[in-house]
């Protein structure tokens, strides 16, 4: 019989289910802003600058979709993963941590 691991949990006799990714994120960062918590499935975390807001949202498949989800037009924000800049066509994978830095100065 399959035993539960860090991504799964036992649900009743002989039954395993995959944990909600949001639970793990909230355990690590209880104060993170959760966008659309009712949506199930894979999620990503985002740092939005210059406000330095940490947020968690349902995984967009591409950088272009991420910008749209944040209501940002292309070329108004940098998007980076692990220190690497990403063009709008690049894929985003589950559980990734993404930096979004708006470029428009307000002063």
């Amino acid at each position: 019989m399959t035993e539960p691991n860090e991504n799964t949990e036992r649900k009743g006799e002989g039954c395993i289910r995959v944990k909600d990714p949001l639970d793990a994120i909230l355990r690590a960062e209880p104060n993170i802003k959760v966008i659309a918590p009712e949506q199930k499935g894979s999620r990503i975390t985002v740092t939005l600058q210059p406000q330095d807001i940490r947020m968690c949202l349902h995984r967009p498949k591409t950088v272009r979709q991420l910008l749209a989800a944040l209501d940002l037009a292309e070329e108004t924000a940098l998007v980076a993963r692990n220190g690497e800049l990403l063009t709008p066509d690049r894929h985003i994978w589950p559980d990734e941590d993404i930096l979004v830095r708006k470029v428009t100065s307000s002063g």
């Binding site: 600058q49 210059p50 037009a73 292309e74 070329e75 108004t76 940098l78 980076a80 690497e84 800049l85 990403l86 063009t87 709008p88 066509d89 690049r90 830095r101 470029v103 428009t104 100065s105 307000s106 002063g107």
Partner: protein
């Protein structure tokens, strides 16, 4: 998306240039755009001594770094506005940046002039932003004149310039439209002012700053909601999204075909400059003292 030049994975996509670049090729692109901007408008000679105004933001730091890498003689000038929390953070970014890159820096504290921006804000009934800009420009020029610099460079980018042009056009402000541009001549007590990043968008300078590892100050000024300019930039950004390249067309077209006409008009009807009776620097105010000296009076009266 692949780099247009070397076919490596692209990290920056630019719709207005119908191109994408890897990190190395983007830096080359950035250098060429700065060079084109300098040469097209005759901004600099190799012998120039350049005072670069450093706010601590991405644009001014990117400009300082790129001009130094191009071999120009650059010195940074940071004006410490003495705004609680905000100014110390901005100054810290500038000082660390210059120390890291071994670049000379002058820091001017407005506090020692009795012109701390919080005091100015309390003394004026109008918004402080225009007074703050006036004071900064005054000291850019004064320090450049006294230090023997031949040009003052600021980090204004294409978005700043297009938004400014849009604003001036909406008001048909002939005075501003007659001399807006990347080069303002040095004459009558003014050092030449230049804007070498005028061909580059805010997005492009942000990418450059990121790729060059520049740690910049990005918190907005607590006294400046920036509403007017943000609105204008937002409108232009929507236009650019629908018609890539239109922002540069708008600005370049003005420089070649619009500005000369406004300059002719201003030559006929414009106000003459005269030295300020108190500080000696030129003013067009017509009442003997310049705007900065008037602000000094207002602060003293309030105290």
């Amino acid at each position: 998306m692949k780099c247009k030049v070397c076919k490596d994975t692209a990290v920056v996509a630019l719709r207005s240039h119908n191109s994408a670049f890897c990190a190395k090729c983007f830096k080359t692109f950035f250098r060429r755009e700065v060079e084109r901007g300098i040469h097209a408008q005759g901004l600099l000679e190799s012998a120039d001594r350049i005072l670069v105004a450093l706010s601590g933001g991405k644009d001014s730091l990117a400009l300082m770094l790129e001009l130094s890498l191009m071999g120009y003689d650059v010195t940074g000038l940071h004006i410490d506005l003495d705004i609680p929390r905000s100014s110390a953070a901005a100054r810290g970014h500038v000082e660390r940046f210059c120390a890291r890159h071994g670049l000379p820096l002058i820091v001017k504290e407005l506090k020692e002039e009795g012109l701390s921006i919080p005091l100015v804000k309390d003394a004026l009934t109008r918004p402080v932003c225009s007074a703050c800009g006036k004071i900064k420009r005054h000291f850019f020029n004064k320090i450049a004149m006294e230090g023997g610099f031949t040009a003052v460079a600021t980090g204004h980018n294409l978005d700043d310039e297009a938004a400014r042009l849009f604003s001036n056009t909406l008001r048909w402000d002939v005075g501003y439209l007659s001399d807006q541009g990347p080069r303002l001549e040095g004459e009558n007590g003014f050092v030449r002012k230049i804007k070498p990043l005028w061909r580059l968008t805010e997005f492009e300078t942000a990418n450059y700053a990121f790729l060059m590892g520049i740690e910049n100050h990005y918190a907005p000024c607590p006294y400046s909601p920036g509403a007017t300019f943000s609105t204008l930039k937002g409108l232009l950004q929507k236009l650019e999204a629908a018609m890539p390249g239109r922002k540069l067309d708008f600005y370049q077209g003005f420089l070649t075909r619009g500005r000369p006409a406004f300059a002719r008009e201003q030559a006929v009807s414009g106000e003459a400059l005269a030295p300020c009776a108190e500080c000696g620097y030129p003013t067009s105010s017509g009442d003997h003292i310049c705007g900065v000296c008037r602000i000094r009076h207002a602060v003293r009266e309030k105290a």
